[in-house]
């Protein structure tokens, strides 16, 4: 009989072999000779961590107790794999294109990168998997006890050995799973070791099966007869359990963190699924093929008190086949170790990425590149997490008393992790699924599972018998095994029914009622329509990234040596001479992948994002872009306004320029006019004075006539010069006003009598005497000058047959208006703007004056604080004189 020492030696030897394989695989992968490491065969074999010690030991026990029901555990995954086209293909595609590191990462990513959800799923997964870990501990302990019974040399205590086994597995998992952090998210070494373990356990189980069928039962026919004769010889299955457990196994196959790890995270090529779709079910079929024969033969050969969970060991031992028993032991041991390694790896990754890292990063205010050695923190977090998970397993083992059948423990685990299913499926196929809905569904499902399955399974310690019998708070409908008053259901069926139904219902209802955030909607669209979006992961566009900063950050995560090697390799790939590569998008993407394997996709993305300063489009970017374009719109409308103003100014300038040109022309015309005006009287004066001087014998009458002409011409000259002087005085503002009071009518009377001395054409004047009865306070002489000018103009220019002039006065808005309207043709439109300019005369031929009258009038009115302007559209020439409110004048 093999001693315990030999057994321990075999275990250590086996573990050393696994390490060797993992090491060699990592070396090969590093050298790039890893093509066959990435074959569909290895992928299929790595999926076999689904078959744990539960399968190896528990399936036979399950069959011995419940007949064929055990196959449901394998039929569920078979259906999922065969139907890969429906679900797994999408899951793997999403996992690869979104760089998912765990199932918690997937859900958090789908529901708007919510860390709350990630923490929730992590907690659920840790608690859900705890019974499973405890199952591995129990199976190894049991198998040790079988050998210990036959070994008289040593004392054996189950309780202490459980702790030793747990400690051993923890050390093993820590050494394996957290050996190196610099590996990218695909752990070639571990996957290779798992593939080897898959072969070992299959060979071991097949060997025992073949021994039982051909060695003990005399071939297939004999075996079938022996099965029929055994206590499980007839078909006896509870329909509810059969269906519920098949469904549960299918759900758990997808939701179990370790299955997600090997199936999605470690997947190298989506096409491997095509092979695994039939090869993995085939593996499962081989694993369960000999379960029933072994169970039947065990029940036949072994005494009734023997634990059927251990028939795989005890049957060969009872036949004296110690070598076979040892092989079987190694098979069971390897089933347990592979499960523990991958589960611990997956769970510790989830814990460190979603719980520890966010807390640690937020506790430090500096950016990723300044924040110390991330590497140590991550490794420590993962190691502590593994220790904690194993401790929970031991705790569960001791609370549950360690006596339950393996299958029962496993199913509790399955039901726990299956609570993730509604949120997962909803997230992949329904864009309306929201984070709040997922959280609510998970919460209610988790609570029901805890209350109706996990806690009752822990014995009397946690849920009192009173609660079990009468319900929580004495409420009958809250009995753990008869929720809502429905009794008589199998506990598993009962729990699955209520937890998953309510989970799904709450998930759907809350999703329908809540509204997702923009990021959530974006992610939802990307996940649901993954086949439209999966041209590959989004790349970095950062050409501004500082290679040195990236190097500093990478050193802190991967370690100085590995980081330098990585950067040198990349620089060589780019063909550069330096040891720092250019931050091309391809390099940044590879670097992110590398970092993601150590600290999780989200953290790695955030860290590189901090340094590069911006990934390709995120929702925030889109919002920023939207803001920018709004600003640009605003800016361009401002520009538009400005350019409109400019064109208005340009128009004014053009107008002013035209006016200037016209004025310049007028000035030229005036100069010739004024010289003409001056020369004409001067010529007459000279001519007549020469006659007076040179001609002898002029009569007195003639002398007087010639002198009168000379006088008149001199007066005309004086008037012209006076006007010019007057205007220049007015314009320079040096005029002094002689303010006095008097009635308007008097001013007008004076103006009319002055302007119409009696000679010239007759001009009829219509006046409104009543309106003129008001007293003015102004410079009345100047005002009269303006009026005289206007009346004289009317007399001069009115071209009607019977010229008439209406003088109308009225008060408006505290201002006095005096209009002079004649019945002529008025001022032509193109001259209206010019009549008030100096030297302007409408029609030079009617030369009565020098064209200064209106200019002077305007200057006078401005001095008096009023205005004078031309009124178009009055049926004749019309001018309006505006005087400020009675007696008011502009301050001098």
């Amino acid at each position: 009989m093999a001693s315990l020492n030999l057994l321990l030696l075999v275990c250590f030897g086996y573990v050393a072999l696994l390490f060797g394989v993992a090491f060699a695989a990592d070396r090969m992968a590093a050298k790039g000779r890893s093509t066959w490491l990435r074959s569909p065969l290895v992928y299929t074999l790595s999926l076999s961590i689904y078959c744990t010690a539960w399968t190896f030991y528990g399936a036979v026990g399950y069959a011995a107790r419940s007949g064929l029901e055990f196959v449901t555990i394998y039929l569920g995954p078979t259906l999922v794999m065969v139907g890969w086209w429906w679900g797994l293909r999408k899951l793997v595609r999403i996992g690869r294109s979104q760089r998912i590191t765990s199932i918690a990462d997937l859900l958090s990513s789908r529901y708007g990168k919510s860390n709350v959800l990630a923490i929730g799923v992590t907690i659920l997964a840790v608690i859900g998997v705890t019974p499973y870990i405890s199952l591995q501990l129990q199976s190894i302990t049991l198998s040790f006890s079988i050998f210990a019974e036959a070994d008289p040399t040593r004392g054996y205590h189950e309780d202490s050995s459980v702790i030793w086994v747990a400690a051993g597995l923890a050390v093993f998992a820590i050494l394996f799973g957290t050996r190196n952090l610099d590996a990218n998210e695909r752990h070639h070494g571990v996957v290779m070791a798992i593939a080897l373990e898959a072969v070992v356990k299959l060979v071991a189980l097949l060997a025992v099966g073949i021994f039982v069928v051909w060695g003990l039962s005399g071939g297939v026919a004999g075996t079938l007869a022996r099965i029929d004769a055994s206590p499980i010889g007839h078909w006896r299955v509870d329909g509810g359990r059969w269906t519920a457990i098949t469904f549960l196994a299918a759900a758990a196959f997808v939701c179990l963190p370790r299955m997600f790890q090997v199936m999605v995270v470690e997947n190298d090529d989506e096409r491997h699924l095509r092979t695994a779709a039939w090869a993995f079910p085939f593996y499962l079929l081989l694993m369960s093929l000999f379960v029933v024969p072994i169970a039947a033969v065990g029940l036949d050969l072994m005494p009734a008190w023997e634990n059927p969970d251990l028939f795989v060991l005890t049957v060969p031992l009872s036949q004296g086949r110690e070598g076979l028993a040892m092989l079987s032991f190694i098979g069971g041991f390897s089933s347990a170790t592979s499960m523990v390694i991958v589960a611990a790896m997956a769970l510790s990754t989830m814990l460190s990425n979603h719980v520890v890292m966010p807390i640690w990063l937020s506790s430090r205010k500096q950016g990723a590149s300044q924040s110390g050695d991330v590497r140590k923190v991550v490794l420590l977090a993962r190691r502590v997490a593994i220790g904690g998970i194993m401790a929970l397993g031991v705790l569960y083992f001791q609370l549950s008393g360690g006596g339950a059948a393996l299958a029962a423990i496993g199913l509790i685990s399955f039901a726990g992790v299956a609570q993730i299913l509604p949120a997962l499926v909803g997230g992949l196929y329904w864009r309306g699924a929201t984070r709040t809905g997922a959280l609510a569904g998970l919460g209610i499902g988790f609570a029901i599972w805890l209350f109706s399955l996990l806690l009752p399974g822990l014995g009397n310690g946690l849920l009192s018998s009173k609660v079990m019998a009468e319900g929580l708070f004495g409420l009958g409908w809250l009995r753990p095994h008869a929720l809502f008053g429905i009794e008589g259901l199998d506990p598993i069926v009962h729990c699955v029914l209520w937890s998953l139904t309510l989970n799904t219902m709450v998930f759907c209802i809350v999703s329908l009622a809540s509204f997702p955030s923009p990021l959530e909607r974006l992610q939802g669209a990307q996940f649901v329509n993954i086949y439209d979006h999966s041209a590959g992961p989004r790349g970095w566009t950062g050409s501004v990234a500082q290679s040195e900063d990236l190097m500093v950050m990478t050193q802190r995560i991967l370690g100085a040596k590995d980081a330098r090697a990585l950067f040198q390799r990349e620089a060589a790939l780019q063909g550069g001479r330096g040891h720092l590569p250019e931050p091309t998008p391809a390099f940044l993407e590879r670097l992110e992948r590398q970092l993601a394997g150590s600290v999780g996709a989200a953290t790695a993305h955030a860290m590189i994002g901090q340094i590069v300063g911006g990934s390709s489009v995120s929702v925030q970017d889109l919002l920023a872009v939207a803001d920018e374009s709004a600003q640009m719109l605003e800016y361009s409308s401002k520009l538009e306004a400005q350019s409109a103003e400019l064109s208005r100014t340009a128009g004014k300038l053009r107008e002013a320029n035209e006016k200037l040109t016209q004025i310049s022309l007028q000035k030229d015309a005036f100069l010739s006019q004024v010289s003409h005006e001056l020369r004409t009287p001067m010529t007459s004066i000279r001519a007549f004075s020469e006659i007076l001087r040179d001609t002898e014998g002029l009569s007195q009458e003639e002398k007087r006539r010639y002198a009168a002409i000379i006088h008149d011409e001199a007066v005309r000259l004086t008037r012209l010069l006076n006007d010019l002087l007057d205007l220049s005085v007015l314009e320079s503002g040096q005029v002094s006003l002689n303010v006095s009071s008097g009635p308007l009518s008097q001013v007008l009377d004076h103006a009319v009598s002055s302007a119409l001395p009696g000679d010239g054409r007759a001009l009829t004047i219509h006046r409104n005497r009543e309106g003129e009865e008001m007293t003015l306070r102004s410079d009345l002489d100047r005002l009269a000058q303006v009026f005289i000018n206007l009346i004289a103009n009317a007399q001069k220019y009115c071209d009607a047959d019977k010229p008439e002039l209406r003088i109308e006065t009225r008060v408006e808005h505290d201002r006095l208006l005096v209009d002079f309207i004649d019945n002529g043709s008025g001022v032509p439109v193109d001259s209206q703007a010019l009549v008030f300019e100096k030297f302007a005369r409408v029609g030079a031929e009617k030369a009565g004056g020098a064209g200064l009258g209106l200019a002077i009038s305007r200057e006078i009115m401005e001095r008096l604080g009023g205005d004078i302007r031309y009124l178009p559209g009055q049926g004749g020439g019309a001018f309006r004189v505006v005087l400020p409110g009675r007696g008011k004048m502009a301050a001098e």
Binding site: V80, V82, L224, I232, H234, V237, T246, P281, L285
Partner: protein, 101 residues
């Protein structure tokens, strides 16, 4: 009809269309496989139970065993046929977006 013998230039195209049509239908069949499997695995629930009647009427474990494992093996074989032919197509035309990333 377009498959007439008088159209040698179009014959090849017609042949390819038929081929891809077959592929589509084979893909449909592959998608239906899990439903078929679920149906087959539910059949045993209709069998008479050992507790219900006399022992003689109940289905023996050996036949139940053969039925379940037979269906299982058939399902795997069907999936394998599909998987292998799909691998063959993958090189020629990439099936419905399932090519490389």
């Amino acid at each position: 009809m377009s498959e007439g013998a008088g159209e040698p230039p179009g014959a090849k195209v017609v042949f390819l269309e038929r081929q891809s049509y077959r592929r589509r239908r084979l893909m449909d069949a592959a998608r239906l496989l899990p439903l078929l499997g679920a149906g087959l695995f539910l059949v045993p629930l209709l069998w008479p139970e050992a507790e219900g009647g006399p022992e003689g009427e109940a289905v023996t474990m050996s036949s139940a065993f053969l039925y379940v494992f037979g269906c299982w093996a058939a399902l795997i074989a069907a999936a394998a046929v599909f998987g292998l032919s799909a691998r063959h197509w993958g090189r020629s035309e990439g099936m419905g977006g399932q090519g490389r990333d």
